[in-house]
Amino acid sequence: MHYPHPESSRTQAFRWARTGLMRRCGRIQCQRAVSEVRHANPVASFDEAREIGLDRTDLVSMYRNMLLTRGIEDRGRTLFKQGKIPGSFYTGLGNEASAVAIGSAMGPDDVGTPIQRNIGVHLARGTQPWKILAQYMGRQGGPSVGRDGNVHFAEFDLGLITMVSHLPAMLPVATGCALAFRIRDEQRVAVGWFGDGSSARGDAHEAMNLAGTRELPVVFICNNNHFAYSTPNRLEYAIEHLAERALAYGFDGVVVDGTELLSVYRETHLAIEKARSGGGPTLIESVTLRLEGHGVHDDASYVPRELIDEYRDRDPIDQFHRWLVEHVDFTPDEQRELESAVKQALNEALKLAEASPEPNADSLLDGVYAARDALEAPHFS
């Protein structure tokens, strides 16, 4: 393990900025020149996609993960109605593009703290669909081994950290991951998710403020889907775009159309690579509409009909299908083949998930505490 030399140029620069320069310039002086929140452009051609490292296979693979996301959640809805899912059930209908794009833009050693509309993140990182269905059903094979349900899971081996209900409690955790990367001088990035509702909580402020003061390699993603349960944006915050808050923390804010897979991918890719090269945090506000209720128990009757119609017309999967047809000659045969492969994957996943046993009740108390040998030995200097 390597630690930065106490007098590394970065440390020196930090100290200099903090003491000498700051004092000389007075307290008004801002450390970083940040102008205003930026609105992302659509990715208008295959060439533009290639510029951010995506080839045709990558594009089709992301499309597949969107289809798989929707398929898993459709199956989940059915399982819930059949009484096979204990507790509650939540979907990310309308957020498939944003989740898949961000999960795909993360590097292999990057980590993230996805939340409840982010099944696509898990799929993009490599979580097997059957594990997600087993998770929904509270089975032993789910990543939470039946100890927690629905979307409260993550596979740590894939660089994901499981969420808690108290959003945005995972933002300070993501900042802490980034702090570890900075302490060890690793070229890794943490991605932390929150929503328009949890933007109103103090954890969001503390996490972003600490990340800003230390210029940590973390990207904050706000899934702004217009409603926090039933509460509309105008009752959650009083500014036009949540991304504007980034300016107050001394880093960049970007607003992106969360229904456009490639726009989200490009902005996340740029933000992650900027963070990786020492450029500090970014706040990306990914704007979508939650096309269903908060959970299956909620009919979302408070969402204006016109808004739903507008976003149905902008369905992220249909949009990206049109993009593929237009820009990379995606054929009806390929579409049929893909749909059939996804269906087969879902059927296999269902079989495996239903075969997964319920957790053994005798295991209830296992692991309340980690055993001493759960961690490696000390690292001697």
Binding site: Y3, P6, T11, V111, P172, A174, C177, A370, S381
Partner: protein, 324 residues
């Protein structure tokens, strides 16, 4: 062996742990250049640099949540709450995130939260509390409350070694008042083991933290009257050494629990319930608690003296128990 104050023992332990394991880093408010509100971390930033002794913004949530993230990434964070009272601001990160993470996801969260706690110096309602009982109800956390310099050093080493979130309550009133012999080499005091402070036959006095020293004075006074008090220094609250307490009660048949935290649902209640359930037939008197009353910690010395258990209160409680 060397004589150390309680504060010096903690400082020495932090330095040792940082030298021993590169993964250990400190984070807190004013702990770096300033050396900490109580100077526990004085000089550490000079030795280890500003990325291992990190001055954080006034953000308890970000500090504790940040520790959890860093721990998940393989580091061994040690956070300082400037006063234990402020840990309320980080409740969610400890109770909701850190404490449940291993059980839910199988990922250990080896973090230590140092909590300068306790009253006795006119700190008032927000700089004097002993909130250990609030956290004792949370499965997944560990809690230690050392009362001596040696235990402070050894328990801190154990806390850093432990793969779970550990709340390390260090009593502010002991920082510079208490001295004792401390082994110079690194050693650990196992979490969850009590220490027999004083051997006795007539009554068992269970306590921890600063109250140990009140208990010692009271026991010495009663020794002059030929009453022998056994003092069990609990040292750890979660897990707690019920065997040590039950063994002592089975010997003396009388129990007084003394703590600085308030009465209702204070940790003394847990101890009494366990003793009543598991040693009822050994008891010669109803087990009793002597604690602060159910009231916020007051500021004025006259009020605080009434609030905190005093030696004469302990003597009174012990005599009543012996006379039952």
């Amino acid at each position: 062996m060397a004589e150390r104050t309680y504060l010096e023992a903690i400082a020495e332990s932090l330095r040792t742990e940082m030298q021993r394991d590169e993964r250990v880093f400190l984070i807190g408010q004013d702990i770096g250049a300033y050396g900490g509100a109580f100077k526990v971390t004085n000089g550490l930033q000079e030795t280890f640099g500003e990325w291992r002794v990190i001055d954080a913004p006034l953000s308890e949530t970000a500090i504790v949540g940040g520790c959890t993230g860093a721990a998940l990434m393989g580091l061994r964070p040690v956070a300082e709450m400037q006063f234990a009272d402020f840990v309320s601001c980080a409740w969610d990160q400890l109770v909701t995130v850190a404490a449940k993470q291993h059980w839910r996801a199988g990922t250990p969260v080896p973090i230590v939260i140092r909590l300068p706690s306790g009253g006795g110096f006119a700190g008032g309602p927000f700089h004097s509390q002993n909130p250990e009982s609030s956290f004792a109800h949370v499965p997944g956390l560990k809690i230690v409350c050392p009362a001596t310099p040696s235990d402070a050093k050894g328990l801190l080493a154990s806390a850093v070694d432990d793969p779970n979130p550990v709340l390390f309550f260090e009593h502010k009133h002991l920082y510079r008042r208490i001295r004792g012999d401390v082994a110079e080499e690194r050693f650990t005091v196992p979490i969850g083991t009590a220490r027999l402070e004083r051997d006795g036959d007539d009554v068992t006095l269970v306590t921890w933290g600063a109250m140990l020293h009140v208990a010692i004075e009271a026991a010495a006074a009663l020794a002059a009257e030929d009453v022998s008090v056994e003092i069990v220094d609990l040292r750890s609250i979660l897990p707690w050494d019920s065997d040590a307490v039950l063994n002592s009660v089975r010997k003396t048949s009388r129990l007084l629990v003394l703590h600085e935290d308030t009465y209702t649902a204070g940790f003394g209640a847990e101890i009494l319930a366990t003793v009543a359930a598991e040693s009822f037939e050994y008891l010669d008197a109803p087990p009793q608690r002597l604690t602060a009353p159910d009231c916020p910690v007051p500021l004025a010395p006259s009020l605080e003296r009434r609030f905190l258990p005093q030696v004469e209160d302990v003597l009174h409680a012990l005599r009543e128990l012996l006379a039952y």
